[in-house]
Amino acid sequence: MTLNRNTRIAAVAAFLAIVFIAVPAAISASGRFDLYYTLTSVALLSIASAGVWLTFYIGRINIGQGAYALAGGYVSAILVMNHGWPFWPTLPVAGLFCAAASVLIGLPILRLRGVYFAMVTLTLTEVARLLALALPVTNGAKGIVSIPLPGALSVFGVTLIPDFATLQNSRLAFYLLAVTVMVVCFAVMYRLVNSRIGRLCQSLQQNEELASSIGVNIAYLRIIAYAVSSFFGGVSGAIFAAISQSIYPSSFTVTDSVNFMLNCFLGGLGYVFGPMLGTLVLYFGWDLLFQTGQFQLLIYSGLMIVLMLVLPNGLLSLSEVGRKKG
């Protein structure tokens, strides 16, 4: 990073001000309350995409994030509905469940590389969907519906988060929740990438044999990165289930998994904030094209192909082009 410390702090402050103050203010001024839902989705999807990005960082193409998002959503929904848990503790539990599952699954499959890993994770998404259909606890194709809104969260009698059901504007509450989690996730990721572990992960991306010959514990690092990635996926899935108050086997499918991957590509694989930008552009692009009706997918995919031809290294690589010229 060439930016110095002060500009970086200023940039983060500006970003926080925009997402927490400017966006809600602009929405309430314009009266477009439906945008809350869109932005909430963007925030949640970018959390899941951030996980995918992290696996890219260790040199693996992960098309299996949909599986963990689905698992996280189901864990949260089942705990709330069948075991009477409040929503808030299910959030970390869903994440941890996914992380634990990813360690078990990752131990064998992280030995694979390149397209093999990509294809295995792709089928993993399909496995998750079929499991959700087959297991008795997930209620098959009917899914789990009418999940209650998150309740109040209080620590030592102090109400930190009010009951969502009593709020006038639960959309705003969900927006703030999603954005907060997103900010935390990206902060964690930024910290991780710029730490010793992050540098080691980069060495994995370039040459695993070389890294391991210098004494890097590659198996351990791969598992850690994959577990963090799946944790993100699980958390995002859990919040998604809470917002839509339902979860079905088809809530996260192969298309979603591919989209998570595309978000990362589009934003740029070399940039921590790439997945956030990629998700924003793709999701809004898709939404804006809604007016074109039946040509929506055609224009969308056509634009994506053109974008790929012009900027194959992601949107954020534009800044590099500028720097080289200047």
Binding site: F56, I61, I105, L107, P108, I109, R111, L112, R113, G114, V115, Y116, A118, M119, V120, L122, T123, L124, E126, V127, L130, L131, L133, A134, V254, T255, V258, M261, L262, F265, L266, L269, G270, Q294, F295, Q296, L297, L298, Y300, S301, G302, M304, I305, M308, L309, P312, N313
Partner: protein
């Protein structure tokens, strides 16, 4: 039992032909062609139009499917994949392009042919019923045709000049270039051939199962499965993978019938275990 094996062989022949195209493209360009299932659907719809709507002979329709897809494949390689591979820092970028083309084909197919399930009249009437095997004649014809195509493909790859060049490319791109193989040209031919195979299978299968615009994705996933079983980028592996998957599906549908629709779950789980023991599939080259 004989019935199950016959069904498995028939399915396997189709699957192997689909997997061959995918693995050929992968071997030559290191591109995982997400749009393979969509190419298959497109081939199916072209045969539907030429044979079912216009009433021309089936052979003409099959030819039309193959040629159209070959042209599309060649254009895709020349104008899309080659450019992106040249400009991008990372090889994986081609996956985004492949996924985008898959979406694009989906959209085109939907616009041109609609979302209805389409079928064509049977090419051969009647049912073979002997020795405990019941099999409609058209399935037998399609199965035999598929096996013929596979044999022709293998022989072509083995003995023709183009086939030799492509095998050299798959083994070592740089070395092949140094030996005077025109890399760009043969990449394009390879991509066109892979796409053509997808189109031909689509054309063959439209006579049996029909075709609709939504099956592209699932077909791609099946093709990935076969390639993983056999090992990516190996012709023999794709054929083996196709027949193994066809057999497993056929056996699974019979053996697991009373447990409900879990055949694919079992296949996936078995694949995970298999891949943890043999990460490169049956005969794949190490590290794809």
């Amino acid at each position: 039992m004989e019935q199950v094996i016959a069904n498995g062989l028939y399915l396997g022949a189709q699957y192997a032909l689909i997997a061959l195209g995918l693995t050929l493209i992968f071997a030559l360009m290191n591109v995982l062609n997400f749009a393979h299932g969509q190419m298959y659907v497109l081939g199916g719809f072209i045969t539907y139009t030429v044979y079912g709507q216009l009433g021309l002979p089936f052979v003409v329709a099959l030819l039309a499917s193959g040629v159209t897809l070959a042209v599309i494949g060649a254009l895709m390689e020349k104008f899309l994949f080659r450019t992106v591979i040249r400009r991008s820092h990372r090889e994986e970028s081609t996956m985004l392009l492949a996924a985008a083309t898959a979406f694009f084909f989906d959209a085109v197919i939907l616009l041109l042919f609609g979302e209805k399930q389409r079928g064509v009249p049977k090419i051969v009437k009647g049912v073979f019923n002997d020795a405990g095997i019941i099999m409609p004649y058209d399935r037998i014809v399609v199965g035999v045709l598929a096996i013929l195509f596979i044999a022709a493909f293998v022989l072509y790859m083995q003995y023709s000049r183009v086939g030799r060049a492509m095998r050299a490319l798959a083994q070592d791109r740089v070395a092949a270039q140094l030996m005077g193989v025109r890399v760009d040209r043969y990449s394009m031919i390879g991509f066109a051939m892979g796409a053509m195979l997808a189109g031909v299978v689509g054309g063959l299968l439209v006579t049996i199962t029909g075709v609709n615009s939504g099956i592209g994705g699932p077909i791609s996933i099946k093709a990935f499965l076969m390639v993983m079983i056999g090992g990516a980028g190996v012709v023999g592996g794709a054929i083996a993978g196709g027949f193994i998957l066809g057999m497993m599906e056929s056996v699974g549908l019979t053996a697991l019938r009373e447990y409900g629709d879990i055949t694919y779950l079992v296949i996936f789980a078995a694949l995970m275990v298999f891949l943890s023991i043999r990460p490169n599939g049956l005969m794949g080259k190490p590290w794809g």
